[in-house]
């Protein structure tokens, strides 16, 4: 098994007053060392919950109901809070959407970097300081020595996200969970941050789980993509194959509904309706009420996951047993 992270049959439920809502169900995927896996989906699809579960940051009322998370051959979803804390920041780092909330406003940039390194690495304060300066230079912050004593509010949004990247990389983690890392930024800054993230990961062999709603970002950065819909992975496969020839009708609809600057069409493909909410789950395949190609079986029975080309697709249309029946 070469997978760095293995998620098997992960389910997370939210225990509301009287009932249990399923946030994600039976989510399985792997990330190889050094690989960038994009997790894409619309709001409420469960992509952030999946990232949070891997980080061990689920908080009541959300809890893991089933499945296991294996990191570097070791099961981590059963680890205690202390052991998980030692892992987080060192082996698995996180980058969140809003850099202003992930940085401490009352600590200088240098102090935050040093604190993280001193917590996890056997180094002295002066070594940490020198390393912090090198990291800031590497993430493209001008005058890094002076910036060490700057506070987050003194930096622009793009610069703050660079600092967050420096923080994520400071203990040389093997996996980074990046949840919408560029959503709060303008496109020109977004491109800079994505380039930086990809370059640093490639140089260090760091794996990334990149959570985003933006297929464009996925297309730029990810090696493989997992598409989530209503709490489940509906399709997972290599980025190019999935974008050019999506197997699941939802992925296909999603791709066609994205306007392109290079293809002006009279009307965009649209998927009618909206994703079911967790408090009103749909029987069978969760996508069937919106699917143009749904048939009887889709409404009753949830599809398993079938191999379709290089991808795995959770759709009855991809069922090899059905291939002869013509859909």
């Amino acid at each position: 098994m070469s997978a760095l992270l293995e998620v098997r049959g992960l389910s997370v439920e939210i225990v509301a007053r009287r009932r249990r809502l399923t946030a994600i169900a039976d989510v399985s995927f792997e990330i190889a060392a050094g690989e960038i896996l994009g997790v894409v989906g619309e709001s409420g699809a469960g992509k952030s919950v999946t990232g949070t579960a891997v980080l061990g940051l689920l908080e009541p009322p959300a809890r893991q109901a089933a499945g296991e998370i294996v990191f570097a051959g070791r099961r981590i979803d059963t680890l205690g809070a202390e052991a998980m804390r030692a892992l987080r920041g060192k082996e698995i780092a996180a980058v969140f959407q809003d850099p202003l909330t992930s940085l401490d406003p009352l600590m200088t940039i240098g102090a935050q970097l040093a604190e993280t390194m001193l917590t996890h690495l056997p180094i002295t304060r002066s070594e940490a300081q020198a390393r912090a300066e090198r990291l800031l230079a590497e993430v493209g912050i001008p005058a890094p020595r002076e910036r060490l004593s700057a506070y987050p509010h003194e930096l622009s949004g793009g610069m703050r996200q660079r600092v967050v990247l420096a923080l994520a990389f400071c203990c040389e983690p093997r996996l980074i969970i990046a949840d919408e890392p560029t959503t709060a930024l303008d496109v020109s800054i977004q491109a800079q941050i994505l380039d930086l993230l990809r370059r640093m990961c490639r140089e260090r062999g760091t794996a990334v789980m990149l959570v985003t709603h933006d297929m464009g970002v996925i297309a730029e950065v990810a090696d493989r993509v997992a598409v989530m819909y209503a709490g489940r992975v509906v399709e997972i496969g290599p980025t190019r194959a999935l974008i050019e020839a999506a197997g699941h009708p939802y992925t296909r609809g999603l791709m066609a509904s994205i306007p392109s600057m290079r293809r002006r069409t009279a009307e965009l493909m649209q998927i009618p309706g909206a994703m079911p909410r967790p408090d009103a789950p749909v029987a069978g395949c969760a996508f069937h009420p919106r699917c143009a190609r749904a048939f009887d079986r889709c409404a009753v029975e949830r599809p398993g996951s079938f191999q379709a080309g290089a991808s795995r697709v959770a759709c009855w249309l991809a069922d090899p047993a059905l291939a002869g029946a013509g859909a």
Partner: protein
């Protein structure tokens, strides 16, 4: 464009905000006055029944222009003329009513722009009642039902509250409200930025359908170039408060002239054409408190020279586009066709 076709004309519009420290602090510390140059000398016209889009990064002044046109924000200098009337000229609320009836707005966040305590019927009826177009009664109820159906909702939805709807449905309610007073012109400020892509497609298609059926004119503000490419007839690209390039949307998207427009088009991640050879914009947008001298884009521009740093470029015409750039004017920049467009145009539906 003949004068009769022009529904909105913006002439040398400048909007500045005073961001000075308080008077006492200025006296004690000697701190100078500070001015935010939000919009500087912007000129454009919008033809009846068309879509004019303004694009640019945050802080470039696009929303300030929208607010000035909607009469929410006063112009510092310059003028906005709507259907032949100067928008700044209204002295009373009553005087502005006919103008407001014809100009409505759709905002970005459908969670913030609808009153959570009002039923949908009341939200949609408000413009009709404010402008005294109809009195309360069965005719008004029928009109509300018709409006809701126009935007793809059910007449029964009038009795519900906004929280009972998803983001996309809420944006449909905002559109119904904007259409309630039969406006000629709708200012759409990032109408789909808060929505998921599959829902965004629904709203964009709805907007196009309504434009066709009702002859609406749209001013579309967006940072999303793909949305703009899908919707706009004419396009204005803004950088730091100024229009750097404007004109026919097709020409700008296929053959962008201004170095900023080129870089902007190159930086947008597009799943339909990923990892293409792309020029990257280095650096960040300078502060509008102290815009650079000469051409505001010169510190980030690969083609900038001494003239760019010293002298502000004036707009010149190139085919169907007007562009403000010394490099274009002097022929220092080639004008390549964007190859990717031609490659892909074959599979346009």
């Amino acid at each position: 464009m003949s004068a009769a076709d022009v529904i909105l004309s913006v002439d040398q519009l400048t909007v500045r905000f005073d961001a000075s420290p308080p008077l006492l602090k200025r006296l004690v510390t000697g701190a100078p006055r500070r001015t935010v140059h939000a919009v500087e000398a912007v000129d454009f016209e919008v033809a009846r029944g068309s879509t004019f889009a303004l694009v640019g990064e945050s802080g470039c002044g696009k929303s300030t222009i929208a607010r000035t046109i909607a009469g929410i924000q006063a112009a510092t200098t310059g003028s906005v003329s709507f259907m032949g009337v100067n928008v700044a000229g209204f002295r009373t609320r009553r005087g502005a009513l006919p103008y407001r009836r014809n100009l409505q707005m759709i905002f970005q966040d459908p969670y913030a722009s609808l009153n959570p305590r009002w039923r949908v019927g009341r939200i949609v009826a408000e413009p009709i009642l404010t402008h005294r177009l109809m009195a309360r009664g069965p005719a008004l109820d029928a009109r509300i039902a018709e409006l809701l159906e126009t935007v793809g909702l059910s007449p029964k939805d009038a009795a519900k509250y906004p929280h009972q709807f998803s983001g996309g449905q809420r944006q449909r309610i905002s559109i119904a409200r904007a259409l309630a007073s039969n406006p000629a012109f709708v200012v759409c400020d990032e109408p789909t930025s808060a929505l998921d892509v599959s829902v965004q497609a629904q709203i964009l298609n709805l907007m196009r359908k309504l434009q066709r059926e009702l002859g609406l004119t749209f001013l579309l503000i967006s940072h999303n170039l793909a949305v703009v490419a899908h919707m706009a007839d004419r396009l204005g690209v803004m950088y730091l408060g100024r229009l750097v390039e404007q004109g026919d949307a097709g020409q700008i998207l296929e053959r962008p002239l201004h170095p900023y427009t080129r870089a902007l088009l190159d930086t947008v991640p597009d799943p339909h054409a990923p990892r293409r050879g792309r020029a990257r914009l280095s650096g960040e947008v300078p502060s509008p408190l102290a815009p650079p001298s000469g051409c505001a884009f010169h510190p980030r521009c690969p083609l900038a020279d001494a003239r760019c740093a010293a002298e502000r470029p004036q707009p010149i015409r190139v085919a169907a586009v007007s562009v403000a750039c010394h490099a274009v004017e002097e022929g220092r920049i080639d004008a390549p066709t964007r190859r990717s467009i031609n490659e892909k145009s074959g599979d346009a539906a």
